[in-house]
């Protein structure tokens, strides 16, 4: 009723105004055909203006019926969209009617009107949706193994019979699953890797209790070795703990805006004493135009500490480590170049595997835990970056980290969800 009245008045007002204006002009300027035509033009112009600006007049009624969510109050829609729980609404053809903000984060953009089987694919979830359409609410586990492992419990339920709408909700269980897996991994790794140094230490304790009890020279030598082994165990535990911590948060996108040069310089400063011991010089070259990256400050410092530490460790004595920071195609890159012995090509694809060592003996001598690059890989993966490794035997290796550049601040503000500002 109200709508049709609005439509009528929208058309009527310009007509009335046009006629009055035309009539007034005719009265004042005398009866002339010229002014009559002008008045008519004015009226037509006004009609056109109102018709084009008032969309509801033009919208065909069947279009509204086509969208079963048209009856949804705008506030409910905003609430659904802002909900931190991924939500998807589907019609009876299993076509996507609505996806909220969180669901787009999970499945990516461009989901509207697609079929559920195209955007979800997972057979268990599709089964649950089919069940829900028949009126049986179900929940099934749903995992996305790549690129970063995520685990959900998917709930599907019929929420409206006419128009037919099925809802799919995801409950994020990543943190729970992860802590479970990490605990198991941690125990397995720790018990396996700690066994060797522990065996050495206990062996020396045995000897010290036995025939070396009164031999002072041997005692001092053994205590030195025990000290080294204990230090190795401590490093190993430190690395395992920080790896677990990083893996725990790998699925959480970092939020800080970080200047890479500062981070690199901080990492280098921490390693200065070590470099001085080896007589290694570290040179940092940074393009001053480089934009900041989205990242976690502490993790990025650790990332570069590990890479620079490796460069010092595996470079020649009195050598040079060169670090260059640059930008290209929306990415910020930092490359760390050493002039060490290089890495054989068959080892390169596996360097970031935990406990993988190119040369086990050498790594032990240098005090490596076999976890440094695994930590690097997980930090980069959390930052949605990439690691490139180039190496030539006898000439040295270059490790280049690519991280996505942060967008300018103004744009970041504009990306705030619009509906909310509208509501307020």
């Amino acid at each position: 009723m109200r709508e049709s009245f609005a439509r009528l008045s929208a058309l009527a007002w310009p007509l009335i105004i046009g006629t009055i204006a035309g009539g007034a002009l005719v009265l004042f300027a005398g009866p002339g055909l010229f002014w009559g035509v002008v008045a008519l033009g004015l009226a037509v112009g006004l009609i056109a203006r109102f018709v084009s600006f008032q969309e509801p007049i033009l919208r065909a009624p069947e279009q509204a019926e086509d969208d079963p969510l048209a009856t949804l109050p705008p506030m409910t829609r905003v609430l659904l969209d802002q909900l931190p729980i991924p939500v998807m609404l589907l019609d009876d053809d299993e076509r996507v009617l609505f996806v909220n903000h969180s669901m787009r984060d999970v499945l990516g953009p461009g989901l509207d009107r697609k079929r559920a089987s195209s955007v979800l694919r997972n057979p268990h979830v599709l089964g649950a949706i089919a069940e829900a359409r028949r009126g049986i609410s179900t929940n099934v586990p749903f995992s996305l193994p790549v690129p970063i492992e995520r685990h959900y419990q998917a709930y599907a339920a019929r929420i409206s019979r006419s128009p037919p709408v099925t809802a799919l909700l995801l409950h994020d269980l990543t943190v729970v699953k992860r802590s479970e897996q990490l605990r198991a991994d941690f125990i397995a790794n720790a018990s396996h890797e700690l066994r060797t140094p522990l065996a050495a230490v206990s062996g020396f304790i045995e000897t010290l209790r036995g025939h070396a009890r009164d031999d002072e020279a041997a005692r001092n030598q053994f205590l030195d070795i025990m000290g080294v082994e204990a230090a190795r165990m401590r490093r190993l535990i430190d690395d395992l703990l920080s790896l677990s911590r990083i893996e725990m948060n790998e699925h959480v996108k970092p939020e800080g805006r970080i200047g890479l040069e500062g981070v690199v310089r901080q990492a280098v400063a921490a390693l200065k004493p070590l470099a001085a011991q080896d007589g290694t010089s570290i040179v940092v070259k940074a393009d001053p135009e480089v934009p900041p990256v989205i990242g976690d400050h502490d993790e990025l410092v650790q990332l570069f500490q590990n890479l620079v530490h490796n460069a010092i460790k595996y470079g020649r004595e009195r050598s040079k480590v060169e670090i260059a920071i640059a930008q290209a195609d929306g990415l910020v890159s930092a490359s760390i170049r050493d002039d060490g012995e290089g890495i054989p090509p068959h080892a390169i694809p596996r360097l970031t595997e935990r406990f993988y060592r190119v040369d086990v003996k050498r790594s032990r001598e240098k005090g490596g835990t076999g976890l440094g690059l695994a930590i690097v890989k997980h930090i980069i993966s959390r930052h949605q970056g990439r690691l490139a490794i180039e190496s030539r035997i006898g000439e040295g290796s270059t490790f280049t980290v690519f991280l996505p550049a942060a967008r300018p601040e103004i744009q970041a503000k504009a990306a705030l969800p619009e509906p909310v500002t509208e509501m307020l």
Binding site: S118, R121, P147, P349
Partner: protein
């Protein structure tokens, strides 16, 4: 989307495409279960992967039947013809991936009866790389994205490189200790199967590219698998 004179034709094509996506989902789940079985020594996941094959074969049959009916009754042209063809070809590749996943899972059942060996972690990592390829190429298929397909096609070298490295390491193991030959042979086949899955993904990438662009990706894919020419010299240890 181009408008079709007979509306139901467009719907039939779309349903065919959705069926391929669904089959892709099944292949993904089966492959994921197989890798899970290797990575976590999970025999339940392995059994699941071995049993998942039947449904995939069923859907492949259905895709072929529907595509054939479409070809016979509608005689599609241009992009419609390519889409129909792509459905048949992709289904065949996915069926092979399902078979390979089943084979990996069967070997996982054997491996899980043996003492744990660290190399399974390297295999799991390689498996993750292949899983990523499969996901990306199926995403490219459903979103009709030629660039994404091309990226998958170019990325296959990474899996090949891990395969080369594992191949060498396994050979070295077997030479050092002949008692590991049984175990290592299974690992070698698992690695080979994962590498084959990667190759099937690049095949799908070619199909997707052709479907969208009507052209072919360059004939020579950057191949990095050199194991067919690799030998590790036998050294007698003192």
């Amino acid at each position: 989307m181009t408008e079709h004179t007979v509306k139901s034709f467009g719907e039939q094509l779309e349903a065919l495409s959705a069926l391929v996506a669904q089959m892709g989902g099944l292949a993904e789940a089966q492959f994921a279960a197989a890798i899970e079985a290797i990575a976590r020594r999970d025999s339940v996941a392995a059994e699941r992967a071995v049993g998942g094959d039947a449904r995939i074969d069923e859907i492949q049959q259905e895709i072929e039947d529907r595509a054939l009916r479409l070809l016979a009754l509608r005689q599609p042209m241009a992009v419609d013809l390519r889409e129909t063809l792509a459905a048949i070809k992709t289904a065949a590749e996915l069926e092979r991936i399902g078979d390979l996943a089943k084979n990996i899972a069967k070997r996982a059942l054997v491996l899980n009866r043996e003492p744990p060996i660290r190399l399974t972690q390297s295999l799991a990592r390689m498996g993750k790389a292949a899983q990523n390829q499969l996901k990306q190429v199926l995403d490219a298929f459903t979103s009709r994205n030629a660039e994404e397909a091309e990226a998958v096609w170019n990325r296959d070298g990474e899996i090949d490189e891990i395969y080369n490295s594992l191949f060498r390491e396994l050979l070295t193991y077997m030479m050092e200790d002949p008692r590991t030959i049984g175990l290592c042979t299974h690992l070698l086949f698992v690695a080979k199967n994962i590498e084959r899955c990667g190759d099937h993904c690049t095949n799908i990438a070619e199909v997707v590219y052709h479907m969208v662009r009507a052209g072919h990706l360059a004939a020579n894919r950057p191949k990095a698998d050199t194991t067919s020419e690799t030998s590790v010299p036998y050294e007698t240890h003192a």
